[in-house]
């Protein structure tokens, strides 16, 4: 027999399951995030009509955006990424193909606009944020923010700013969302071989390109680890973890070399044996791509081989410390990292205290005449090297100003308030002209407008009446206007029935 309490507990458990706990829910969040990554691209097409410097609806912005990410990803290697101008320049043929009739200036501008929007210039974080719902372990629905970037800007050692595509962007581009780097890599290779065997080269080219993006992504992962070592030897476990990682990376490259060389051989044969010109050309493209893949692997491999030397050199440079002479604080481990982990609201106080302690004194300036004179005679200071963001505003043309004054509108309202007896337009025009010569035009326009009244809109807005105009065939005899002498009346809207009643004749 079941206790009463058990019975009560059942529905609660079921609800939680229905909302979706465990793995299913995690998958949902992942898919929502993947979906969010595509939102900036759709957004471009949604906003293109509002651009005031060009009639941009002819351009397929999402396509250009994907192409941009493509260009940046291709240009990424170990040290640098793509330069802004270079990317825009490479986009030109693609943009021009979409609108051959437009000027080159406009094509450049479209390219720049897409690039800026992919970086999201104008926001402090230069990224995107989407809010998604998540059901936690207790079955409580929470709104969380997912922050992501598509293209990021980084400074090269020479001070130049260049672009890199983020993992999110590469995932969006390749279409394989949220997958393991290594397995996706292998999957792409297998798919490629299959396609070649079946002779479907167009698909094979796509798969080869995907494999190349994966290679780039894999290189990025390793680069981050090596960078960490260069900064702080202690941050990376060189005892077991790093050697293991280097080993697995090297064996991975070895297997990729084997696979890619096999593929290269196959396609080269396919290229040489193909008789169809188009197929021959595509096979040749494939050879290029796979060749590029192999050279990227070679680059990765040489980096991996140099990693050990990097470690030893860094170990020498970052010499090991002796025991502290007196008790002091470990600034990094005891101050910086714990502060980074604090919520923003809590972190304010510690950093403020540190800043006050370490910033020194400000000496209040004492004005003196002689100092003032030399201050005024001083040559203009050099421009500050730092400058705040100067966003280029997207201007919306201002609302056209009202042609008629409020006064005139009020008079027209009074004239056109005809609750009981319908009136002729000619009479109203004459009366309006007596008040204000301009008023006649407004009255005529409103009469014309009410010939086809938007009753549904009036109902929605909650108006209690609507002006109705009827043409009974009488001609308008007026110095200024011509047409039918309309009959005008106010129709009441019967809200209880949601029907229009009181319609005149």
């Amino acid at each position: 027999m079941r206790a009463p309490g058990d019975r009560l507990a059942w529905p609660a458990v079921r609800d939680t399951e229905l909302i979706g706990g465990g793995l299913a829910d995690e998958g949902l969040a992942r898919r929502l995030k993947a979906l969010a990554c595509t939102a900036p691209l759709h957004d471009l097409d949604a906003r293109k009509a509002k651009l005031d410097w060009a009639e941009a609806t002819v351009y397929q912005m999402a396509e250009i955006a994907l192409h941009t990410i493509d260009q940046v990803a291709i240009a990424m290697d170990f040290d640098t990424g793509a330069d802004h101008h270079e990317v825009v320049r490479r986009l030109q043929p693609f943009i021009a193909a979409q609108a051959p009739g437009r000027k080159a200036d406009e094509h450049v501008r479209v390219g720049r606009w897409v690039l800026d929007n992919l970086i999201n210039v104008g926001t402090a974080d230069r990224g995107f944020r989407r809010v998604y719902g998540h059901v936690d372990a207790n079955g409580v629905y929470q709104r969380r923010a997912f922050d992501f970037k598509l293209l990021i800007e980084l400074a090269a050692p020479d001070g130049e700013v260049y672009l890199r595509a983020t993992d999110e962007a590469i995932n969006v581009l390749v279409g394989a969302l949220d997958t393991d780097v290594e397995s996706a890599h292998i999957a792409a290779e297998v798919k490629l071989e299959n396609l070649i065997n079946r002779g479907r080269l167009a698909d094979a080219k796509l798969a080869a390109e995907q494999a190349r993006y994966r290679t780039v992504q894999y290189g990025e992962t390793l680069r981050a680890k090596l960078d960490a070592t260069r900064r702080d030897v202690r941050a990376v476990d060189w005892d077991t973890e790093m050697p293991e990682m280097l080993d697995s990376a090297l064996s991975h490259i070895e297997s990729r070399f084997r696979a890619e060389n096999a593929i290269l051989k196959n396609i080269t044969i396919a290229r040489d044996e193909a008789e169809d010109v188009d197929r021959k050309r595509r096979a040749a493209e494939l050879v290029d791509i796979v060749g590029d893949c192999i050279s990227r692997h070679t680059q990765l491999q040489s980096r991996l081989q140099a990693a050990g030397a990097t470690f030893r050199a860094e170990q020498d440079r970052q010499q090991f410390s002796g025991p502290p002479q007196r008790a002091t604080i470990d600034l990094f481990g005891q101050l910086l990292v714990p502060t980074l982990e604090l919520p923003i609201a809590d972190a304010v106080k510690p950093v403020e205290r540190f800043f006050q302690g370490s910033s020194g004194l400000t000496i209040p300036a004492v004005p003196s005449l002689s100092a003032l004179v030399s201050l005024l005679l001083r040559p203009a200071p050099e421009r500050d090297k730092l400058v705040g963001e100067v966003p280029e505003p997207e201007l919306v043309p201002p609302e056209t100003l009202d042609y008629y004054s409020d006064e005139q509108w009020r008079h027209a309202d009074e004239l056109l308030d005809l609750p009981e007896v319908p009136r002729r337009l000619s009479g109203l025009l004459a009366e309006a002209r007596e008040i204000d010569p301009q008023l006649a035009r407004l009255v005529a326009l409103r009469a014309l407008h009410s010939y086809s009244p938007e009753v549904a809109a009036a109902v929605r807005q909650g108006d209690d009446r609507a002006l109705i105009a009827i043409d009974d065939g009488t001609l308008l005899d007026d110095v200024e206007f011509g047409g039918a002498d309309l009959l005008l009346a106010s129709a009441f809207i019967d809200r209880s029935e949601l029907e229009i009643s009181g319609e005149p004749s």
Binding site: A145, G322, I329, L342, V351, V390
Partner: protein, 263 residues
């Protein structure tokens, strides 16, 4: 010496301390006052009293660093974080800006004195560069991100409570660099902030620019070491203790890096 003479000498030592780039090694009068401060305890007390009357405290007086002074709370000499972190952009949250600037200063010191021993060792001279400071914080953010991902719970920030977002997320989200129309460095990027902080510290006599490599490379001065060791680190540490987030080291009192186990 007369009382007025002593008071004048004490005040002069304090005023030397207000010029951070002036060093005892380059000024005979200054050197003499520093020597007297070390030997004459009455003069030492008098100097401390003069300083405290002005709203200052004497952190250290030595031949290497000169007289190192710090402003007490609400003193006219105090540099307010609010005015330092003032931003032209109103839409950004003030707290976020303050925390980011503060983290940059903390990281500059952490890089200048990477090991506890370096902070304690009076002869140690550290080196910092814009690129390294940004790199160190980003690396720490990356480790925290990995750790958060390992915890296997959804750790994306709640959209309704931005003030509960962890500081490292705000830092990691902010771009390192951004191109501006005239090719200069945007000031609201992290590298822009670091660059500003290091130049500020150099103006305060805490750093000396060595060259322009890596976005600007600087070496630390003994003055900075005193300032961080005697005041800044402790007061920040106390705040963290008050928030109950720091575990104090073992009985030996040596505070070791605790980061190595996270990668």
């Amino acid at each position: 010496m007369s009382i007025t003479g002593d008071a004048e000498a004490a005040a002069r030592l304090v005023s030397f301390g207000m010029r951070p780039k002036q060093l005892p090694g380059r000024d005979v009068v200054y050197a003499e006052l520093v020597r007297r401060y070390g030997e004459d305890s009455a003069f030492k007390q008098l100097t401390n009293a003069v300083a405290s009357g002005l709203g200052l405290m004497v952190l250290d007086v030595s031949t290497q660093s000169g007289a190192v002074l710090a402003a007490t709370d609400e003193s006219v000499f105090e540099i307010k974080m609010d005015s330092y972190a003032r931003q032209s952009k109103i839409r950004e949250r003030r707290d976020t800006e303050k925390v980011l600037h503060g983290l940059v200063h903390l990281a500059s010191a952490a890089l200048g004195y990477p090991r506890p021993d370096d902070l304690a060792n009076d002869t140690y001279i550290g080196r910092v560069s814009v690129e390294q400071v940004d790199g160190v914080v980003r690396e720490a953010c990356r480790i925290l991100d990995e750790r958060a991902a390992k915890a296997e719970e959804n750790n994306d920030p709640l959209s309704g409570a931005p003030e509960l977002e962890q500081a490292w997320r705000a830092y990691a989200r902010r771009p390192a660099a951004a191109a501006t129309k005239d090719g200069r460095l945007a000031s609201d990027t992290t590298r822009g902030m670091v660059s500003r902080a290091l130049r500020f510290l150099a103006e305060q006599g805490f750093l000396v620019q060595v060259n322009a490599e890596q976005g600007g490379t600087y070496r630390t001065t003994p003055r900075y070491q005193v300032q961080v060791r005697e005041l800044a680190a402790d007061s920040a540490f106390e705040e963290l203790l008050a928030l109950n987030v720091v575990s104090v080291g073992d009985g030996a009192g040596t505070l070791r890096p605790s980061i190595s186990d996270t990668l």
